[in-house]
C-alpha cells in the first residue's frame, strides 16, 4: 500500500474504492498487458471470435473441433488485454476557486483526480495530468511508474486556480498530443460556451479517446440567493458586475437553464461520459457511481 502524504486523499475512500476497477468504455491500445480490452487480438483467455483460416496462419491456432463439425478450418481468436492511459484534465481557471463551506471546486477536482489517479495506477494504468488555466499550467504525460504517480499527486496538491480558463485549448492539444486511445477525464465547471465544449469533445472523440466529464457546480451558483445589490467580482479577472439579484434573478435562472439544456444537447451528441456534480456531494460516492457506471455489464461472444 502506498504511503500517502497528500491530505486531499482520503485513505478510507481509497480503501473503499479499491474493490472497484476503472474500466475504459472503449478498447484501449496500451503498451503492456493490462486489464483493458484492446482492438488487437491477443492471447488472453477471453474468447473473442472465429475467423476463416488463411494460409500463413499458425496451424496451432486452428480449432479442430470446429473443423470436425463443419469440415472447415477456423482460427480461434482471443481478446488482447492491455493497459490504459488516463489523462486527467483539470480546469485551473480562477472560477475553480469558487468555494462552498470552505471546499472549492478545485479542491473537489483535486480529490477526484487524485483518487482516480491512484486507482488507475494501482491497476497498472498510465496516468497523466493536464492543468488548464492561463494562470497555472501544468502538463504531465501519462506514465505507469510509482514515482510518476507520486510526482503527479504532488502536482495535484500544488495545483492553484487563477486567471482565465484554458480548457478548450488544453483539450484540443490533448486530443492531438496523446497518440493513442486514452481515457480523458475532464474536471471543470465548464463556464464556457457549450459550442466550444462541443468542439473540444468532438475533437477528442474523433481521436478515439474515451472522454469522461466531471462538471463541477456549486449550489449557490444555481440561483442568486441574495437580497440586496451586490458587486460580483469575476474570479477569472474580468470586469466586476454590479447587479441586484432581486431584479435579475429570473433572467439569471433563465440563462442558466438555457446553458444546461445546451450542455445536455452537447453531451448527447458527443456521447461522452458526463457527470454533473454538486461539490457538496461526497466525492467518494461520485467516484463509486462513476466507476460502477463504467463496469462492463456483459461480454460479447459468439
Amino acid at each position: 500500500m502506498l504511503q500517502l502524504k497528500r491530505d486531499y486523499l482520503d485513505q478510507k475512500v481509497l480503501e473503499r474504492l479499491s474493490t472497484l476497477q476503472l474500466h475504459a468504455r472503449l478498447p484501449m491500445i496500451g503498451s503492456v498487458s493490462g486489464k483493458h480490452r484492446s482492438p488487437i487480438r491477443g492471447s488472453s483467455l477471453e474468447f473473442a471470435e472465429y475467423r476463416k483460416y488463411v494460409p500463413g496462419d499458425d496451424p496451432r491456432r486452428l480449432d479442430w473441433r470446429a473443423y470436425a463439425r463443419n469440415d472447415r478450418y477456423y482460427i480461434k481468436e482471443f481478446e488482447a488485454d492491455t493497459n490504459l492511459r488516463m489523462c486527467l484534465v483539470v480546469d485551473t481557471s480562477g472560477s475553480m476557486n469558487f468555494a462552498y463551506n470552505g471546499t472549492s471546486k478545485l479542491d473537489y477536482a483535486r480529490r477526484v483526480a487524485g483518487t482516480l489517479a491512484y486507482i488507475a495506477a494501482q491497476q497498472g494504468d498510465a496516468v497523466g495530468l493536464y492543468c488548464a488555466g492561463t494562470g497555472f499550467h501544468k502538463e504531465i504525460p501519462p506514465k505507469r511508474s510509482a514515482t510518476h504517480l507520486s510526482a503527479m499527486l504532488d502536482a495535484l496538491g500544488a495545483m492553484e486556480a487563477s486567471g482565465e480558463t484554458g480548457l478548450a485549448n488544453v483539450l484540443h492539444e490533448t486530443a492531438e498530443r496523446v497518440p493513442q486511445r486514452a481515457l480523458i477525464v475532464v474536471l471543470s465547471d465548464l463556464f464556457i460556451e457549450p459550442e466550444i465544449v462541443r468542439n473540444c469533445l468532438e475533437h477528442l472523440r474523433f481521436r478515439k479517446h474515451d472522454v469522461a466529464v466531471f462538471h463541477l457546480l456549486e449550489q449557490s451558483e444555481l440561483a442568486l440567493e441574495f437580497d440586496r445589490p451586490m458587486r460580483f467580482v469575476d474570479m477569472e479577472g474580468g470586469e466586476p458586475i454590479l447587479a441586484d439579484p432581486t431584479v435579475i434573478g429570473a433572467q439569471y435562472q433563465r440563462a442558466l437553464e438555457m446553458y444546461l439544456e445546451s450542455m445536455n444537447t452537447v453531451i448527447q451528441d458527443t456521447e461522452v461520459d458526463y457527470h454533473r456534480i454538486r461539490i457538496n456531494e461526497n466525492y467518494d460516492d461520485v467516484l463509486a457511481r462513476f466507476l460502477l457506471g463504467r463496469t462492463p455489464k456483459r461480454h460479447k461472444g459468439l
Binding site: 468504455r25 472503449l26 478498447p27 480562477g94 472560477s95 475553480m96 469558487f98 465547471d189 463556464f191 460556451e193 474515451d210 469522461a212 457546480l217 456549486e218 451558483e221 444555481l222 440561483a223 440567493e225 437580497d227 440586496r228 445589490p229 451586490m230 458587486r231 460580483f232 467580482v233 469575476d234 474570479m235 477569472e236 474580468g238 466586476p240 458586475i241 454590479l242 447587479a243 441586484d244 432581486t246 431584479v247 435579475i248 434573478g249 429570473a250 433572467q251 439569471y252 435562472q253 433563465r254 440563462a255 442558466l256 437553464e257 446553458y259 445536455n264 453531451i267 448527447q268 458527443t270 456521447e271 461522452v272 461520459d273 458526463y274 457527470h275 454533473r276 456534480i277 454538486r278 463504467r294
Partner: protein
C-alpha cells in the same frame, strides 16, 4: 405658487440626495467573488431595458418624495400671484382699505360686498402666513394708522366697516410712506384693497409722481393691489340734487330734483322704474322711465303740511348690487333770505354788483343786497350774510380775521380787484398790477408759478377751449371749468358763454388757488382758494364796461354771483346737505341721528363713525342730511393699465378678484404634497419589491448518459 416658509426651499438641492446615495452605494455594495459570470452577463443583457426603467423610476420616486417633503415643510400656497415676491418674510404689513361707498357693491348671490370680501380674503391669507411684527391698517375714512393685533381682528374693527364716503388712495399711500419713513422697517408688504374707482385714485393727480419718487427711495416695499374692478351687471343710484319748500297760500309743498343713474345695465330697452319718496313718514311711489343713462325727475312736487316748516325725507330705489346708493336723504326748511354785502369804494361797480345780486332767480326767494364802503365794514351783519363781495384793498387785522371766520362757517367771499394799489395779502393771495392787452403778451408770473407747483391747468374732462373774442383791445377766455363750481354748465346742459366775454383790463394776482377760468395769456380770470368750509374766490376783473363786458353781457356775471349767493346762503339755512366724511359733523357737537341707517352693521354708537353713513342728523333746530358724495355715483373704475402705470418702477402686483369669488386668495397645498410624497414612496416601495421568487433549477439528473460503453 408662494410659500409660507420659503426658507425651507433652500433645502431643495437635497432632492439630489437619492441620486448621490445611489452613486455612493454603487461603490459601497458588498463585493463577492463570483464564478458564473457568464450567466450574470446574460441576465444583465436580458433585463437591460426593464431594469434600467425600473431603476430610473425608483430613483425618480425617491427624488419626488424628497422634493414633496421639502415642499410640505415650506408650506406652499396656491395662487400664482405670490410667486417672485422674494424669499424673506415681511417685517410689517400695511393694509390700505378703501371704504368708499362704491366698495359696498355686493355679489347678490354671496351677499358679500367688495370691502368685506377683500377683508375676509386678506385676513385669511395673512392668518395663514407671516405678516411680520406689525400689522397696520390705514382706512380711507380716517387716513390714520391703526395697529391691528391679528388679521382676524380686521373683520370686527369699526374702522373697516362700510361708509358712504369717498377714498383718497394717494393720501393713504402718503400716510403709508410717512409710517415707513418713521419706522424704517425692512421688508414691508403694502396691501391695497380697492375697486379702482377713478375719483378715489385720482390717477391724473400730480401727487402720484411724488409718491413714486418717495417709494423709489425705500427698499423692500412690495405693493399688492387687491383689485375689485369689475362692475355689477346692473346698478342704480339715486340722488336728490335740489330740495325747495314752497308755500302757495295755504298749501305747502316740496319741489325735488331727483336723478337716477344707471351703471352697467345691459338692458337697452326703456323700462318703468319705481322711486319711493318718504316725507314725514308718508310714503309715495312714482314710476319713472329709465333709459341706459338712467332718469331724472325735475321739480317733483310732494304736498306737505304747511305747519311742517322743516323736516327730512328720503328717496329710495329697489334693492340692487349696491345698497348704499339706493337711498338718498334730504332735509328741507323754509327758504332763507339771501343776503349779500358788497364792500366797494367804486360806485359804478358797487351798483353793478347790487343789481346782479338783488334780482332773485326765483320770484319766491327774497334777496337783500347792501353796498357799503370800506369804512363801514364794522356795520356788516356777519351772521345773516350769505356772500361778501370785496372790491377794495385786501383787509388786515380784525376784519381779515372776521372774514376768515365768515368763510369757516360755510359762507362765500368773492374778491374783486381794487382800484387802488394794495400790498396786503389774504388767503395766501395778493393783488398784482393791472394788465391790458398791450402789456400782457407774456404769460403772467403767477400762472407760471402755479404750473411750477404742479397745479394742473384744469380738469381735462371739463376743459373748454373755444374760439374767443380776443383782439388787440381785449382778452378772451380760453379755458374754464364747466363741470363744477361757479362756471358749471346750466341745468339745460349749455355752457356759460364765457367765450364771448371781453376783458379790457384785469389785475393779476399771486395765489396758489385753483383756477376756474383763464385768459388767452393763461392768466386766471377766476380762482378758487382751497378752504375747509365755505368758499373764497378771486376774480381778476371788474364788471363795468371800463374793465370787461361782464355787466353788459350780464349772463355770466349774474350766474356767478347768484351761485355764490346760493352757496353762501345754504350755510345760513336751517337744513343743509352734506357729503359723508369724518369731519362733516364737526361744526356741532350735538348732532343726533334721526334716521335709521340702511346698513345695520354700522357701529353708529361710536362717535368716530358719525357722519360716515347716510342719514339725517339734528341739532336743535338744525337739520343736516349726510349722503355719499356725488362723484361716488358717477365715477367709473380706472383702467387697470392706468393703475398699473401708477406703480411703475415699484415692486407691485395686481390681483384681480371678483366680488363673487369666494375662494381664498391662497390656500395651503401641503396636503397635496404630502399625498404626493406618500404616493411616491408607495410606488417606490412597489418598484423595489423583489421579483417573484425565482425557481431554482434543481440539479437533478446529474449524470447524463451521453456515452455508450462498447
Amino acid at each position: 405658487m408662494g410659500f409660507l416658509q420659503p426658507l425651507a426651499l433652500v433645502a431643495l438641492p437635497l432632492i439630489a440626495l437619492p441620486i448621490l446615495i445611489h452613486l455612493i452605494n454603487q461603490h459601497r455594495h458588498r463585493a463577492i467573488p463570483w464564478a458564473a459570470m457568464m450567466f450574470l452577463m446574460s441576465a444583465k443583457r436580458m433585463s437591460k431595458g426593464m431594469a434600467r426603467l425600473r431603476h430610473f423610476l425608483i430613483l425618480l420616486m425617491r427624488v419626488l418624495a424628497v422634493a414633496a417633503l421639502i415642499f410640505v415643510v415650506s408650506r406652499p400656497l396656491s395662487g400664482g400671484w405670490l410667486g417672485g415676491i422674494g424669499m424673506s418674510k415681511p417685517d410689517a404689513t400695511l393694509i390700505l382699505l378703501d371704504r368708499s361707498a362704491s366698495m359696498e357693491i355686493q355679489d347678490l348671490q354671496a351677499g358679500q360686498s367688495k370691502r368685506s370680501a377683500a377683508l375676509q380674503k386678506l385676513a385669511q391669507l395673512l392668518e395663514q402666513g407671516d405678516y411680520g411684527t406689525h400689522l397696520v391698517l390705514i382706512d380711507s375714512v380716517s387716513g390714520q394708522l391703526q395697529e391691528v393685533d391679528s388679521p382676524k381682528a380686521l373683520l370686527g374693527l369699526p374702522t373697516t366697516g362700510s361708509s358712504a364716503t369717498s377714498a383718497d388712495i394717494p393720501g393713504m399711500l402718503e400716510s403709508a410712506l410717512a409710517y415707513l419713513k418713521a419706522n424704517k422697517s425692512g421688508r414691508v408688504d403694502v396691501w391695497i384693497c380697492s375697486d379702482l374707482s377713478e375719483n378715489d385714485w385720482a390717477v391724473e393727480s400730480g401727487r402720484w409722481q411724488a409718491i413714486r419718487e418717495e417709494f423709489y427711495q425705500l427698499e423692500g416695499v412690495h405693493h399688492f393691489l387687491l383689485a375689485y374692478a369689475n362692475l355689477p351687471s346692473s346698478n342704480f343710484s339715486v340722488r336728490v340734487e335740489n330740495v325747495q319748500r314752497w308755500e302757495h297760500g295755504n298749501d305747502a309743498e316740496l319741489a325735488l330734483d331727483v336723478i337716477v343713474r344707471s351703471k352697467g345695465s345691459s338692458d337697452t330697452t326703456r323700462q318703468e322704474f319705481p322711486i319711493e319718496f318718504e316725507v314725514n313718514n308718508v310714503r309715495s311711489v312714482v314710476e319713472v322711465e329709465l333709459d341706459r343713462q338712467g332718469a331724472s325727475l325735475r321739480g317733483h312736487r310732494i304736498p306737505i303740511d304747511t305747519k311742517l316748516r322743516s323736516g327730512w325725507g328720503s328717496v329710495g330705489l329697489p334693492g340692487d348690487a349696491n345698497p348704499l346708493d339706493n337711498r338718498f336723504f334730504f332735509v328741507f326748511s323754509e327758504p332763507t333770505v339771501r343776503r349779500a354785502v358788497v364792500v366797494s369804494d367804486d360806485i359804478k361797480n358797487g351798483e353793478a354788483f347790487r343789481r346782479a345780486l338783488t334780482i332773485p332767480t326765483d320770484p319766491r326767494l327774497q334777496h337783500q343786497t347792501e353796498v357799503i364802503s370800506a369804512n363801514d365794514v364794522a356795520e356788516i351783519d356777519w351772521e345773516s350774510t350769505g356772500v361778501l363781495i370785496w372790491q377794495t384793498a385786501l383787509p388786515r387785522g380784525a376784519v381779515a380775521d372776521q372774514i376768515a371766520q365768515f368763510v369757516d362757517t360755510g359762507r362765500v367771499v368773492m374778491f374783486f380787484p381794487p382800484s387802488q394799489n394794495a400790498e396786503e395779502q389774504l388767503f395766501g393771495s395778493r393783488w398784482g398790477d393791472w394788465q391790458t392787452p398791450g402789456n400782457s403778451s407774456q404769460r403772467s408770473a403767477v400762472s407760471s408759478q402755479q404750473e411750477d407747483f404742479g397745479i394742473p391747468s384744469g380738469n381735462l374732462l371739463a376743459d373748454r377751449r373755444q374760439p374767443t373774442v380776443s383782439d388787440s383791445h381785449s382778452f378772451g377766455v380760453s379755458w374754464w371749468r364747466g363741470d363744477t363750481d361757479l362756471l358749471a354748465h346750466a341745468e339745460s346742459g349749455n355752457a356759460l358763454p364765457l367765450n364771448e366775454l371781453h376783458t379790457y383790463r384785469y389785475r393779476s394776482f399771486e395765489s396758489l388757488g385753483t383756477p376756474l377760468a383763464r385768459f388767452d395769456d393763461n392768466a386766471p380770470l377766476l380762482t378758487r382758494i382751497a378752504t375747509d368750509r365755505g368758499a373764497v374766490y378771486f376774480c381778476s376783473t371788474l364788471p363795468t364796461a371800463q374793465f370787461s363786458s361782464l355787466e353788459r353781457e350780464g349772463v355770466i356775471f349774474y350766474v356767478i354771483l347768484q351761485r355764490a349767493l346760493e352757496q353762501g346762503s345754504q350755510a345760513l339755512a336751517v337744513a343743509s346737505q352734506r357729503d359723508a366724511g369724518p369731519e362733516v359733523l364737526a361744526d356741532h357737537n350735538q348732532w343726533e341721528l334721526v334716521t335709521p341707517v340702511d346698513n345695520s352693521d354700522a357701529p353708529l354708537h361710536l362717535s368716530s363713525q358719525r357722519g360716515l353713513h347716510a342719514g339725517v342728523y339734528r341739532d336743535g333746530a338744525y337739520l343736516t342730511a349726510v349722503n355719499r358724495s356725488q362723484i361716488e355715483d358717477s365715477a367709473t373704475a380706472a383702467p387697470v393699465e392706468t393703475v398699473d402705470a401708477l406703480f411703475d418702477g415699484m415692486s407691485y402686483r395686481r390681483i384681480d378678484v371678483d366680488v363673487g369669488d369666494t375662494s381664498a386668495l391662497a390656500s395651503e397645498l401641503w396636503r397635496v404634497f404630502l399625498f404626493a410624497m406618500i404616493v411616491a414612496l408607495l410606488v417606490e416601495a412597489v418598484l423595489s419589491l423583489p421579483s417573484k421568487s425565482v425557481r431554482v433549477t434543481p440539479l437533478i439528473d446529474l449524470t447524463v448518459a451521453g456515452g455508450k460503453t462498447e
